[in-house]
């Protein structure tokens, strides 16, 4: 079957789960072709990236505010 999600698609799916919006078509693809472990690993990675992103945001805000 060729509906195995690519790495890029996996990333996008996890990203959309952070966002909270996902289309029916992509969800079908994820749950048919995807392997849960891939999603969990990507999810953990993205969660870490998310934390880092917020930290960077905080630093940026602080440097703007001159504190």
């Amino acid at each position: 079957m060729s509906d195995k999600p690519t790495l890029w698609q996996t990333l996008l799916s996890v990203l959309s789960s952070f966002f909270g919006v996902q289309s029916e078509r992509n969800r079908e693809r994820d749950f048919h072709g995807g392997h849960p472990v891939h999603y969990i690993l990507t999810g953990l990675l993205m969660a870490a990236l998310f934390v880092i992103a917020v930290i960077l945001l905080v630093r940026w805000a602080l440097s703007l505010a001159g504190a």
């Binding site: 966002f19 909270g20 919006v21 289309s23 029916e24 805000a61 602080l62 504190a67």
Partner: protein, 381 residues
């Protein structure tokens, strides 16, 4: 700068709406307060409030429109759509943008609130169960501030006065137009020092110090309360700030220090047993009765009885020790810094002679003040 304008408009609307009710005895909104920071906080509050109202109008509007028009009893047929990624992305992006709009002024205000540098006056505030101690660090002055609402009002045996539960025996007097830094800590459990008019609320954590600051614009009386559950009398430890002009503040400082010396001197004269008993009862009711009860019977399992207790009827030295130094690991505080030598002598005498504890002996203020000497004034801090 666009953001700033929105805030002003939003808060203007808010003020207009609440102006009418602000006149009434009760209020339904935050106080704008009397400091620059408190006004920024108020503006933020009103901005977010109106954003929420606007979103609510749209969402609930659509919902009630559907409830009204798409009901079966009006012959509505169910349509068969259940997905639209574009719409969903749009209604995710829009809230996100609104949030960013809120985060910008919020961050600016927060950064301002955290900058306690270059203060002209340092006040250390220590929470105790259930009172506040104020220490003007560079002015050799410190005192406790207790609730002064009479117990009869609380137990409904007397009419309640205007500032019921919001009045104290000694105000925290502060100068206006001065950057004041508060250093908050606690002697026992966590308390939280909150004065709405200053928009200052900071927890007092035992063993740590938190900082907060304020610049008060107008002289006046500002009231607040402890905001963190701190035990039985959490509801009974108010805060009263008296903001005065800078000159009046200097005058007040001088007077307060002179008063303090007079009290210390009083310990040197001789007191009669009756005098000690009289003052002792007052001190007891103020400082001890909350736990040990006015009858000295305590609360089994929580606060030991003094009536007939081994300590209050035994060796006087042990009794003095526990009152002065407290008992670590329990709710029994050290009172050596909280009460003057004569107050300590009086209350110990009272405890040894009240409720049938009839030892007949008096503890003299002089005796106590000798014990206090080594660490008086918390020199080590």
């Amino acid at each position: 700068m666009v953001r700033i304008t929105t805030i002003t408009i939003g808060s203007g609307l808010g003020l207009a709406l609440f102006a009418a009710s602000a006149q009434a005895e009760w209020t339904v909104n935050l106080t704008p307060g009397v400091t620059d920071v408190s006004r920024s906080v108020f503006d933020l509050h009103m901005t977010i409030f109106w954003i929420c109202v606007a979103i609510a109008l749209v969402v609930f509007g659509v919902m009630f429109w559907s409830i009204f028009h798409h009901r079966k009893s009006r012959g509505a047929e169910a349509h068969n759509f259940h997905e639209n990624t574009v719409v969903e992305v749009i209604w995710t992006i829009i809230p996100l943008l609104i949030l960013v709009g809120m985060a910008v002024p919020a961050t600016a205000t927060l950064v301002k609130m955290y900058d306690s540098s270059e203060a002209e006056l340092d006040v250390q505030i220590t929470g105790f169960q259930w009172k506040w101690r104020y220490d003007y660090l560079d002015h050799n002055l410190d005192f406790f501030s207790n609730l002064s609402t009479p117990r009869e009002q609380i137990s409904n045996e007397a009419d309640k006065q205007e500032h019921y539960l919001l009045e104290v025996d000694r105000h925290l007097v502060l100068p206006v137009d001065t950057k004041i830094r508060f250093l908050l800590t606690s002697n026992d459990v966590i308390h939280s020092w909150w004065v709405p008019a200053l928009a200052v609320k900071k927890d007092a954590i035992p063993g740590f110090i938190n900082e907060a600051w304020t610049v008060i614009d107008e002289p006046g009386i500002y009231r607040g309360q402890c905001a963190e559950l701190c035990g039985q009398d959490h509801g009974f430890m108010p805060i009263v700030i008296e903001a005065v002009s800078r000159d009046d503040f200097q005058q007040w400082l001088a007077d307060a220090r002179a008063d303090k010396q007079r009290v210390t001197a009083a310990a040197e004269r001789t007191w009669t047993l009756d005098e000690l008993m009289q003052q002792g009862e007052q001190v007891y009711l103020r400082a001890c009765a909350a736990c040990h009860l006015p009858t000295g019977e305590g609360v089994p399992g929580a606060f030991p009885a003094l009536k007939g207790s081994a300590i209050a009827t035994g060796e006087v030295a042990a009794h003095i020790d526990i009152v002065l130094n407290g008992k670590s690991g329990t709710a029994m505080q050290a009172f050596r810094d909280q009460l003057s030598a004569s107050e300590l002598a009086a209350v110990i005498t009272y405890e040894r002679n009240a409720w049938g504890n009839s030892l007949g002996e008096a503890v003299s203020p002089a005796q106590i003040s000798r014990l206090l000497e080594p660490t008086t004034g918390e020199a080590e801090q």
